[in-house]
């Protein structure tokens, strides 16, 4: 049995037929083909799937598509303004904040939610704030650096 869901994704109203058990991440990736949002685990621990739901960061693998009815979703694809990257994306690029890039969409989405209105966030606060995002490549150092720079850039 399927049900109809509608929500706003990256500013556009979308709807689709889903099973109640369809996860938000499956709806985004499989139906909307927004494959920037990744799936890195099945235990809700890695954060590769983080998107914004009504302005706050959420693990889209741990939410049903039907729970997002009428919500406003932002995915990594919705950040850039045409060719111009979001300041946080630019900061990751500038600071070598990624290697394989698998964790990066989730990292960037978590980072934006974390530093919003906190341009002077400290390194400690950043490290604690990205507790829910795992990276197997970078050792986190440059991710933290990127987020610090992104926080400053988002101020302007």
């Amino acid at each position: 049995m399927t049900v109809t869901v509608s929500m706003t994704v990256n500013g556009e109203v979308v709807s689709g037929e889903v099973e109640p058990r369809t996860l938000l991440v499956q709806f985004l990736r499989d139906q909307l083909r927004l494959t920037g949002t990744h799936i890195g685990c099945d235990t809700s621990q890695c954060g590769a799937c983080v998107v914004h739901v009504d302005g706050v960061s959420v693990k889209s693998c741990t939410m049903l598509a039907v729970q997002a009815e009428n919500a406003a979703i932002t995915t990594i694809e919705g950040l850039a303004d045409g060719e111009r990257l979001h300041p946080m994306q630019e900061a990751f690029r500038e600071n070598h904040g990624l290697q394989c890039g698998y964790c990066t969409p989730g990292m960037v989405m978590s980072a934006i939610d974390l530093v919003r209105d906190r341009p002077d966030i400290t390194e400690d606060e950043i490290r604690k704030g990205i507790d829910g995002n795992l990276c197997r490549c970078t050792g986190y150092h440059n991710i933290v650096k990127s987020i610090k720079a992104g926080a400053q850039a988002m101020k302007g």
Partner: protein, 265 residues
Amino acid sequence: MYEFDYRRPNTLDEALEALRTAPDGKLLAGGQTLLPTLKQRLANPSDLIDLAHIQDLKGISVEGDTLVIGAMTRHAEVATSPDVRARIPALAELAGDIGDRQVRNRGTIGGSIANNDPAADYPAACLGLNATITTDRREIGADDFFTDLFETALVEDEVVVAVRFPVPVRAAYMKFKNPASRYAIVGVFVAQNSDGVRVAVTGAGASGVFRVPEMEAALAADFATGAIEGIAVPQDDLNSDIHASAEYRAHLVGVMARRAVAACG
């Protein structure tokens, strides 16, 4: 995940009706425990009944000397609420240290206590602060609510509506985290309440959250870290697993309890 039907009631009565009529209905709160469980096919409910649209289950209010937190209040809201921060800062800090930021943006207090994971944080706060759990039909004291591992006093079709926390004189929570899961290997909530001292331990007990009467008595006589130095909890009642042995957990209970007392100031 197995298939299920999804229901979205707008009132508590509609939710209760949905629970009664579904062959095997299950309440869905923040989904941060339930959805991972379903993904692993460890449960197979016929219906998920989403509590997210019931206004009466949401929000934080102050009633005299009591802080009332609706069942569907997210961990992030408790962590940042000015009312909670002003009256029971230890509770705000506890909520702000549950899991990670994304889990806190979805997970709820009602879901956490109904689930009663032996390593969860809120059960320690409920027991330590002598909270009362309000359901659709009755009030249950924290001492009676948490009955065993993942077991509570709730009956099958009962819904947690709110948790009522009496404001303590002072309180603190100290958690020794499992660095991978962020759940408590041992967490100790110490509170000096108007009617006495309570020491509640999560993460360690073989049958879930428990109180330490010897420490409570010692702290009632002298609220200082020195008063509980040397009070050991029996290892027989503690949990041993890949994360920590019962012996290690027993040691941590003492350490975390003393740190909590010190943090009470």
